[in-house]
Point group: C2
Chain length 333, copies 2
């Protein structure tokens, strides 16, 4: 295992410290318990958004803390759920009285810990709503989940719901927007390699030189099936077709196409995948109106990518285009 | 070799096609010869900036085409200089009559081909100035260069000179700003792994499980020396100290700190490096006023990073902060 780290047990804390130093204009990093909150929180009158999950998926979630997206992010240990002891103070720190939406990827530990935190925060008088993201069409249940996993689509939920909160939507309305995005986004991924959790020191799984894993999650957990290596165009079809089918997206509809790198794949390859996915959607009569290409929901240094498709309407386009200023996603300001 | 590609010989063309589809609002991709120009070029009255180099370093350079940065980028084959046959039409397409600055990383092939293109463009009546970037302190001459290599600092030259052009600076003034940035930035890198050029199919070099290469370039060419693997803090010192020393940066001065990923290293590790580098600069009495952390000048899927330090003054801060809208760097709009 070669990594740019010091003590494997200090990876999350040291990385967060660097993150806080690099983005001191945007956010504050709290240590013990670890959470990240935007500058100026709580924002008077605004519904707050909190998300979190295991570390190792950077820039998710802390990279999306700032204006127009998350008010707080709660990082667990690598590939490990954050605890209620982190989620509760983060929730309290960002609540302006307008309430807090928890955006939770559908993993058993995350769901339980956010649920506990929500109950305890509500007992303290904070209104909390929870939105589950389970956009991965690859598998029904997995090592980490009952039901589908939450993966790349989470970024889109956070961006669009964040814009709704800035627009002035009340708690139930922001929750409704987040749920609408979660309902209208689907994702599927592929791994060309495994990844190594720092404190374990061994790869999560091994793939032969001529094998890839279709339907991979973001923790190196198993996918749908292992197949021989093939060209990018073929792989793109294998990811895109189930996504479009599951979403029921048809001719005449509008979409955002998101090609997400798993961390170790060159950007140039992501654009090769984007090219084929965009062409396939075009052939189906689906108009790609917005795009996102890059490493946003990663699995450490894993090589591979995921493709997400979000069904768009005028409102979602407006909210997507609204200004955002975070470490990892920024426009309009 | 496992890559998300189709025909290894089509990698650059297919990637550019996808890039053009994803960013059709920002730029146009021209094929045969390959170059990328911003929408609306030429911009009336504005000095134009053109850069280019071998592919495999994405998002450099095409990812920096747009308002406030480059007017055109000219991608060669992977790790191969672009030709005058590409550079000349790109230069012609963006010249408004106010002249064109070629920003050239100091590699022998790039320098020769941009020189030829500049001469031929000038013969056609276009005023061209050339700024060489040679920020790598690691080696004096290399496999690819006479003198120092141009690496991560190139991004800072392109951003700041691009802002000077938007400000309305004339040709010699924009050239002067670019030269000033080039003079005031230094970089050094480390590789934890090699990378594989698609059409060769074999790694550029091999590192043992316990070895790293200090002073690496961006083509998998040799660095200063190979040493046993060590912790991130030690590696950071080995990169930062020569950079600061070569720059002659001292107590009371101001800096931009740029930690650049080589493509295959998780963002979380780049922040661990940033943390240590920021602390080391702080100990030296140097104020880090601006930061950049991410994969901006890569070597395909190489694991590793580089550290760049730019000496700042009020003017450079203002130009750095000025709005930019490109695929890979965006703020203020």
């Amino acid at each position: 295992m070669k990594k740019l780290i010091n003590d494997p047990r200090a990876v999350v804390d040291e990385s967060l410290e660097g993150f806080g130093l690099a983005h001191a204009d945007l956010l504050d990093v709290h240590a013990n318990p670890a959470y990240v909150i935007r500058k100026g929180a709580p924002v008077a009158g605004k519904v707050a958004l909190v998300s979190g999950g295991g570390s190792g998926h950077e820039p998710l979630h802390a990279g999306f803390v700032g204006h127009g997206m998350l008010d707080a992010a709660v990082p667990g240990a690598v590939f490990t759920s954050p605890t209620p002891e982190q989620i509760i103070p983060a929730t309290e720190a960002v609540d302006s009285g307008a309430g807090v939406v928890h955006i939770v990827k559908n993993y058993t530990g995350d769901v339980l810990n956010f649920e506990t935190a929500a109950e305890l925060s509500q007992a303290e008088g904070i209104s909390v709503r929870t939105v589950l993201v389970d956009d991965d069409v690859a598998v029904q249940d997995s090592l980490y989940t009952a039901g589908r996993r939450g993966v790349g689509g989470t970024v889109l939920v956070e961006k669009i719901a964040g814009a709704a909160a800035v627009r002035g939507d009340m708690l139930d309305a922001v929750t409704g927007v987040a749920e609408s995005v979660a309902r209208n986004v689907r994702t599927m991924g592929v791994a060309l390699s495994g990844c190594t959790v720092p404190h374990s020191g061994v790869p999560s799984f091994e793939l032969a030189d001529d094998e890839i894993e279709i339907g991979i999650g973001i923790h190196g957990e198993p996918g749908r099936h292992r197949i021989p290596m093939e060209g990018a165009d073929g792989i793109t079809s294998r990811l895109l077709e189930p996504v479009v089918e599951d979403l029921g997206l048809g001719s005449g509809e509008r979409a955002l196409l998101f090609v997400n790198g798993m961390g170790g794949t060159p950007l140039s390859e992501l654009y090769i995948v984007y090219r084929r996915a965009a062409r396939l959607l075009e052939e189906k009569g689906i108009t790609v109106e917005r795009s996102l290409v890059g490493n946003y929901v990663t699995s450490l240094e894993m090589q591979g990518c995921s493709i997400s498709v979000l069904r768009l309407d005028d409102e979602l386009v407006d909210l997507w285009d609204a200004p955002v200023h975070t470490a990892a996603l920024r426009w309009g300001m």
